[in-house]
Amino acid sequence: MTELDYIVPSQTAEPGRFLQQMLVIRKFEQQVEERYRDGEIPGFVHLAIGQEAVAVGACAALSPRDVITSTHRSHAHALAKGSSARAVMAELYGKLEGCSRGRGGSMHLYDVERGNLGSSAVVGGALGIATGAALAFSMRSEPRVALAFFGDGATASGLFHESMNMAQLWRLPAVFLCENNRWAESTPLAQHSPISDLTQRAQAFGMTSLEVDGQDVEAVYRATAEALAHARSGAGPVFLLAETYRLAPHNVGDQQEYRDKAEYELTRATEDPIEKLRERLALPDERFAELEREAELVVADAVEFARRGTDPDPATLLEDVYAD
């Protein structure tokens, strides 16, 4: 195993490491797509291609005791919060060695030890949970923050609104991180939201909001750090809006018949967060290729690990329905 097998949230801005981490996620997602198409991965999978900078930048700013909640599009969040590529891949394969012991799958990645409280496959479904985690921190006077990832589509859900209201009312240490990738499945932002500036959502609660370029990992890191500092100080929650792009179909298999092909190709060509960082760092092609290879090795190892994993024994079916 190399040091890349686990992304260790750095708590400092280290663009070089950001690049490595984003590459691991990208290669991971690309590999998942292939493995899924080959029928190795069951269920259905949503890739975060294009949104790596949000996951990596945000999680780098978190301290190890902070927690996150995630969504159906969860691989990047899980990896960025420190789950091993092996454990995540094994989960996607439904193996006992997976981060949810094969019970969860792609949409239900958990790693409680590393502060990942799990992902909700119900859109918006984890926002109350993040609020409750923040409430626990507040009641116990622990200097911890709960950060909830969610998409633009989730801002139409009632629970989003109720959670924002409650968190602001009680000045809870929470960060509501909205990844506006401009699509909710096949529905463009303009078809599910009457406003285009989603920070207006926060005005309904008088909540502090911040906006950041979600393709710029360093900016995401800084904005998240600022939001966390605000939340940790007791000043209340922050709505953090990351403007980003979905550089992939909604899920593997989605034909995107609803999306303009030219727009899609252009966006992919111009809005890749990895290419942007590579440029900013003025990385020689050779060095970049090397990093890519390293990331590929990590992912290849994870696939091998997952393939060799254990199928959960049907005799254990009823385990963990209840805690005793």
Binding site: G94, G104, H108, V122, S186, Y258, P314
Partner: protein, 331 residues
């Protein structure tokens, strides 16, 4: 005599055809739901409908299951016949308040002034590792809510004829489709034959055991019946199709003939519709029963992701077959 032309419809196409024919006939019928427009819905049931009917009548909606259902109720109260598609039945939990406290009760609470001719279509089911929040079966909850009707077709013909009747029913109907049935095919005439709500279908005639099954379990029950036939056990299979109102008479008549009964559904056994059926049957056909009514349903666990676990949790033909054997064995 002119032969009526028939076409091969998949269950998916049958559902679509009922909606499209109603929408062609009647400007008050329309559909709302997430990703039902260009995308054709997550299961492609509404594919092509946007082109025919336009975005005003094939309304792509925000991720707001509560308001979506509420808006369906409100439009229905004003005389429209909305169809609301809830992408997965797991998300009916979000619409529960609107369905239970409003759709079901507006007529009663208003002393008969209002009608709510709303159809809420949804789908789900196990078998493809969709995980614990995208595959549970929830039809049982709605059967116990006075004011709602509940439909769960198992074939293209039933899907089309029952959906038509649901759309034109003056009450709120919760209409369950099963993801594993969408590609089932059947030859159907072009013209829709409406199927009345509340009428069961005898799927297979037999004399030794009655299997009352719904949704995908109808097909599993048929397979189990074939297998049992090999051993000289004659199995009658009944599909109630509508769960509320429930065609108790059809079920009881069969059980009074066979004296043995298995009830089968994919939902968790505990508090599944099979519990209600067993309670009714033992109450009204007690003296005819030669053995306990066997219940077949999912194990008591959230739907697990790993394929092997998922398979072990939901019932298929083997479980129906085993139940048939048990009930005959206790002869």
């Amino acid at each position: 005599m002119p032969t009526s032309t028939t076409t091969r419809f998949s269950y998916r196409e049958a559902v679509r055809d009922a909606m499209s024919q109603a929408m062609r006939r009647d400007a008050d019928v329309f559909i709302m739901g997430q990703d039902i427009a260009e995308h054709g819905g997550s299961q492609k049931v509404t594919l092509g409908m946007l082109e025919e009917f336009g975005p005003g009548r094939v309304r792509n909606s925000p991720i707001s299951e509560m308001a979506l259902t509420g808006a369906g109720i409100g439009a229905a109260m004003l005389g429209m016949r909305p169809i609301v598609e809830i992408m997965y039945e797991d998300f009916l939990t979000l619409a529960m308040e609107q369905l239970v406290n409003h759709a079901a009760k507006e007529r009663y609470m208003s002393g008969g002034q209002l009608k709510v001719p709303l159809t809420v279509r949804t789908q789900g089911g196990a078998g493809w590792s969709s995980g614990a929040q995208h595959g549970q079966q929830t039809e049982g909850w709605f059967v116990g809510v006075p004011g709602l009707k509940v439909v769960y077709p198992s074939t293209p013909r039933d899907a089309r004829g029952l959906l038509w009747s649901s759309i034109y029913d003056d009450n709120c109907v919760v209409f369950f489709e099963h993801v594993q049935l969408y590609n089932q095919r059947e030859e159907l005439p072009e013209e829709i034959e409406p199927i009345p709500l509340g009428k069961a279908r005898i799927v297979r005639i037999g004399t030794d055991v009655t299997v009352v099954a719904i949704g995908p379990l109808v097909h599993e029950a048929l397979a189990a019946a074939e297998q049992a036939e090999q051993e000289g056990i004659s199995v009658e299979v009944i599909d109630p199709r509508t769960l509320q109102p429930l065609d108790e008479e059809a079920i009881l008549e069969s059980v009074r003939k066979t004296s043995r009964c298995v009830v089968a559904h994919e939902a968790v056994r505990r508090m599944g519709i099979g519990a209600e059926m067993a309670a009714v049957i033992q109450e009204k056909a007690f003296d005819w029963l030669d053995a306990p009514i066997e219940r077949v349903g999912a194990r008591f666990t959230p739907l697990p992701f790993a394929p092997g676990l998922e398979q072990a949790s939901v019932p298929r033909r083997e479980q129906v077959y085993a139940a048939i054997k048990r009930t005959v064995g206790s002869r």
